[in-house]
Amino acid sequence: MSNQTLTRADLAESVYEEVGLSRNESADLVESILDEIADSLVKGDNVKISSFGSFLVRSKNGRVGRNPKTGEEVPIEPRRVLVFRPSQVMKDQINSDNS
């Protein structure tokens, strides 16, 4: 366990090393890929990446919530939430001892 945090910059760097593109263009591609995924989800269209996992949009009904501190009732509006379901391949890889 190294407990580091990867960011867009690290992904861009690995794209840069993978194909012969400039660092700028590599960063732009990472951004376009994330944008395409987000746009699809915002349209309500799930995104399934084989051997990685699925991003699913779920609709939640409105309900009456409660402020746990004051006990006061607060309405929670119906909303859409995103859930990620990892593939079996990812789950296996995360539990294999190659770290």
Binding site: M1, S2, N3, Q4, T5, L6, T7, R8, D10, L11, S14, V15, E18, V19, L29, V30, S32, I33, L34, E36, I37, A38, S40, L41, V42, D45, N46, V47, K48, I49, S50, S51, F52, G53, F55, V57, R79, R80, V81, L82, V83, F84, P86, M90, K91, Q93, I94, N95, S96, N98, S99
Partner: protein, 92 residues
């Protein structure tokens, strides 16, 4: 949308790139995320979301059909938290 459709969209936006290079780039990004998680690292993509790994301790489970006790070993599970910007966009 599935992975091949994502690759096609990116390829259309970047006509100067070979299709096979777009495939490599898209695969590389997902492989990097999985790789980071298997090392126990986090992946934080501001505005989109963050991937992390949660530890599940070992527990004694039960076969729901027979009621029999079964040992379930400790495991690590991937977790995704939606970023603020994307969460807001989903509800606009």
């Amino acid at each position: 949308m599935i992975k091949s459709e994502l690759i096609n969209k990116i390829a259309e936006e970047n006509p100067h790139l070979f299709h096979r290079d777009v495939e490599r780039i898209v695969s590389k990004i997902f492989d990097e995320i999985t790789g980071a998680l298997s090392r126990g690292d986090r992946v934080e993509l501001r505005g989109f979301g963050a991937f992390s790994v949660k530890e599940r301790p070992a527990r004694v489970g039960r076969n729901p059909r027979t009621g029999e006790k079964v040992d379930v070993s400790a495991k690590r599970v991937p977790y995704f938290k939606t970023g603020k910007h994307l969460r807001e966009r989903l509800n606009k």
